[in-house]
Amino acid sequence: MQDDNHISRRKFMEELRRYQKGSVSRRHFLGVTGLGTAMAVMATAVPALRPRPAFAQGDIGNRVVLATWPNYHDPENFETFTDETGAFVQVNVFGSNEEMLARLLAGGSGWDVFVPTNYTISTYVDEDLIEPLDLSLLPNYDRSAFDARFADAGIIDGTVYAVPKNWGTTGFAVNTSYLGGTPITTWREFWDRTMTDFSRRTMVHDYQLTTIGNALKYFGYSFNSVDPAELADAERLLLDAKPHLFAIVSDIQPAMRSGDAWLSMAWTGDGKQLNTDHPEIAYLLGREGGELWSDYYAIPKDTQRRAAAYALINHLIDPAVNAREVLAHGYPTADARTNALLPPEMLNDPILYPAQELLDALEFAAAVTLTDPNRAELLARFKSA
């Protein structure tokens, strides 16, 4: 939403009355008030405000609920969807896959589309929480266009349960002005420097997968290990490092931007956004490896608006729409059709597309890390220590 479209309270009420009386269109109303997506919430609360014209795709209902991650979409793409179908997109933002699973397990989430990460999909299938996708309702999905590495996790026993959204890596962001000439290139160095010259300046995620996984990499173990002896080593390292940490948070950008923290675990998009605004903050991958991930669109079994769910996914994976998404959030896509529409400097960005040898060392998270009670308990002990 543009800030220059400011409108006075009185003017707003006038426009609202005009709209209610039907003398202006919804589009005009949204335009002059600059309400955009905010209208979605209001419209669901005040259904009488909403006229119901006919749409090309038929009536898919008046709204669709999307559960996704922060800073992960171009709001304008939701508006075009609403214009084309009459369904408002209501966005719920989440912080972890664990939280998404907890909501779906509890039932009555009210979601129509959500964005799970690769390693969680088999659990959703086992728990009977997501539905096999009817590909005839997703004409924009073309399996051959996707890099198999980032599309396979959505296909289980030959059935497509989820279609690829974006992929990325988990590395670290470091403020290079404090490196003192000695770079950090590995997770071993990440943790060692945390306990020496970066003491009280390092942040780790409030997320078992990455914090435990990258502690496991210190010892050269797999990012995905659930071996009790290896987890015990990781726990010892985490407890040793804890007094030296600045914070255990997943929202790392504010402290990196203010200069309070100098080093932090980070995802591709955080790294890219920080580097764009503060060139002295670099985004790097540990040489020993770490996480490679891929997000997907999926539909929960208990959706109340199935047609709208399919329509939204189909809209968002349209290559032209998807290219606008990528330009807005800065996460790479595995869709060759979309990449063909992106500027070359984006496709050559080393933060988005790391060197092959760095990429080769990365691992996809394993399903067991999501359900293993020991990893969850370990993080809780680390946080409460």
């Binding site: 972890s96 664990e98 939280e99 699973l101 907890a102 909501r103 397990l105 509890a106 659990t123 086992d126 728990e127 009280r200 942040m203 409030d206 078992q208 804890k242 940490l245 600045f246 914070a247 255990i248 948070v249 504010p254 402290a255 203010s258 200069g259 309070d260 999501l370 359900t371 009670p373 969850a376 308990e377 993080l379 809780a380 002990r381 946080k383 409460s384 220590a385």
Partner: protein, 283 residues
């Protein structure tokens, strides 16, 4: 309709409310606390004391809460009392309403947004930068227990100010005149008349703040940066991260039990305190 029937009819809505929103949920929590975690998380029916047996692993969370909740309550009391006193006793009626509105004003915005504001204020570019310009270098505030304490005092101060204000505002001014007529100096009057008569207000304020603080999770999560861990934070993690609902329920039941004990002890203490004052004022 008899008088008895009418009474029942009037009590019915409240009774239904209590049944559905207090008794039933608490029963669910109690039943869950004896269950087991499913493979993907959630609840599987069982009858085991395993969850209660693993409570010691969250001892630090209980310890942090049991230290910071009374401390925060006390700090809020010490800061709120003079403020409430000024408002109730020293301020002209014309200003009183205006100043009271200022006290409530923060409640017009969600605590989440106000806590985010504190992240900026306590962050390196905020208060520490101002302190540095006065020569106090390298003060670290955000993501420390100090930041959590500041956030708690800020967030709970109005809850403490109001009950104390009310008890001081209703204070019979003739008692103060009587006290000074009998030769008491202002401080003696305050100590022997005003303070004892405001005990009910202080007691209510402390109880209100303490109970809410015991379940606090937002302020430690945002201002403590995951390094200050309360029972509330442990509960949030158990329910939405590790999805260990039975263990979370066992912890919730334990928290309720701890609260019942502390609040009962507190009420007894307050009761004894005011009883002593009553007998003292008779003498």
């Amino acid at each position: 309709m008899t008088r008895r029937e009418r009474t029942w009819l009037l009590v019915l809505p409240a009774a239904i409310w209590f049944l559905f929103f207090l008794v039933l949920p608490l029963t669910v929590v109690l039943v869950f606390s004896f269950g087991e975690r499913g493979t993907a998380g959630g609840y599987v029916p069982a009858f085991t004391f395993e969850q209660y047996a693993s409570l010691p692993s969250r001892l630090t969370a209980f310890k942090n809460t049991l230290i910071l909740a009374p401390l925060g309550t006390l700090a809020a009391l010490v800061i709120a009392y003079p403020l409430a006193y000024q408002l109730a006793v020293r301020t002209s009626p014309r200003w009183k309403t205006f100043l009271l509105v200022l006290v409530i004003l923060p409640f017009w915005t969600s605590i989440l947004i106000r806590s985010y504001a504190w992240i900026v204020i306590l962050g390196g570019q905020g208060l520490p930068a101002i302190l540095a310009s006065f020569g106090l270098e390298d003060v670290r505030l955000i993501y420390t227990p100090t930041a959590v304490t500041i956030g708690i005092i800020y967030g709970y101060l109005p809850l403490m100010v109001f009950p104390i204000f009310v008890s001081l505002d209703r204070l019979d001014k003739r008692l103060l005149e009587a006290s000074s007529d009998l030769g008491a100096r202002p401080f003696a009057t305050f100590r022997q008349v005003t303070l004892p008569l405001s005990v009910p207000g202080m007691a209510t304020g402390c109880l209100l703040v303490f109970i809410l603080l015991m379940g606090e999770f937002l302020i430690p999560a945002l201002l403590g940066g995951g390094r200050v861990y309360f029972v509330g934070n442990a509960l949030v993690d158990l329910f939405i991260q590790s999805r260990n609902w039975p263990f979370g329920s066992a912890m919730a039941v334990t928290l309720i039990a701890v609260m019942l004990v502390t609040v009962t002890l507190y009420m007894r203490l307050v009761g004894r305190l005011s009883a002593r004052q009553d007998s003292a004022s008779v003498m």
